[in-house]
């Protein structure tokens, strides 16, 4: 299978939106953008597109963070990764700013009530390391080593531009055994595991647990 690996552009926004949504759901019907902000999925797609169009660098809603795989002109895979805090602002803040700026006011009326719950699975990003936001491969293209190709290429790209970076991290929901296994095969090791005490969290997030995995590069 002859695959082209390339950087994402503005023209890829529809594919990126679908990828982000699939990654957020993590194989479950739970889309946190809908459950936390009280939105319907169609509106979430619209807002994610708007946020990508801002072309902010350095977070999971950055076009520049995406590397895509194409086969015969069709996009079949994506990886999203960035160097954390490169411009002195954390990706958490960048994402929060994008959401605050883009989503309608009513989305923020009740989020303070959910904060205690969601916070149970929060793991800080570490500055000056590579953060992997997501990896996605279309079902028909799986089993051909595309995850490793995309991830290796993106890590290489980021490391070449930032020679002092030695570590890559990924946060994976605990139920996503397939993803955990994939990362382990690539040499990632679990270094932190969080499990929420309040199981109501699964009304808002795909899982009640999260792993932090690390790779020395």
């Amino acid at each position: 299978m002859e695959i082209t690996i390339r950087n994402a552009t503005l023209g890829d926004i529809p594919f990126l939106v679908e990828t982000i949504i699939e990654a957020e759901k993590s194989g479950t019907p739970i889309l946190s953008y809908t459950t936390i902000f009280g939105l319907i999925e169609e509106d979430v797609k619209k807002y994610i597109a708007l946020m990508l169009e801002e072309e902010i660098d350095g977070c999971e809603l950055s076009i520049s963070a995406f590397l895509l795989a194409e086969f015969r002109g069709e996009t079949i895979g994506a990886v999203c990764a960035w160097v954390e805090g490169l411009e002195g602002v954390s990706s958490t803040i960048l994402k929060g700013n994008l959401l605050r700026f883009t989503l309608p006011q009513h989305c923020f009326e009740s989020i303070s009530l959910l904060n205690h719950l969601i916070r149970e699975l929060h793991i800080d990003y570490i500055a000056d390391t590579i953060q992997i936001g997501l990896v996605y491969v279309a079902e028909k293209a799986r089993g051909q080593g595309l995850v490793q190709k995309l991830l290796s290429k993106k890590i290489e790209q980021l490391k070449q531009a930032n020679l002092k970076i030695n570590d890559a991290y990924v946060q994976v929901f605990g139920h996503n055994f397939a993803a955990i296994k994939s990362y382990e095969k690539l040499g990632f090791e679990t270094i932190e595991y969080k499990i929420a005490r309040n199981k109501e969290i699964t009304n808002y997030l795909p899982s009640d647990s999260k792993l932090l995995m690390k790779l020395n590069i």
């Binding site: 902010i56 958490t92 929060g96 994008l98 989020i111």
Partner: protein
């Protein structure tokens, strides 16, 4: 509102949002220095700041803020507009 009043009001907001009455603000304080400063808490913080100070930030302004000092400067600037 003078700079001291802005600082005191901001401190009070931070203490409320982060549920930490002992939180002390300094100009160099960043998200890395404060527990539980995640994207959701950040949104709540910005919402509260905009509501309490009756101001509205542009995205470009929000993304320029690297620490509390920058935030204080931005609020003061907005209040003087």
């Amino acid at each position: 509102m003078n700079n001291l009043q802005v600082f005191e009001k901001l401190t009070s907001l931070f203490q409320e949002v982060f549920e930490n009455p002992n939180l002390v603000l300094s100009e160099k304080l960043t998200a890395n220095d404060v527990d539980n400063w995640d994207s959701l808490t950040h949104m709540i913080l910005i919402t509260e700041i905009e509501t309490q100070f009756d101001i509205k930030f542009k995205l470009k302004e929000l993304n320029k803020m690297k620490n509390v000092g920058d935030l204080l400067g931005a609020i003061t600037f907005k209040l003087s507009e």
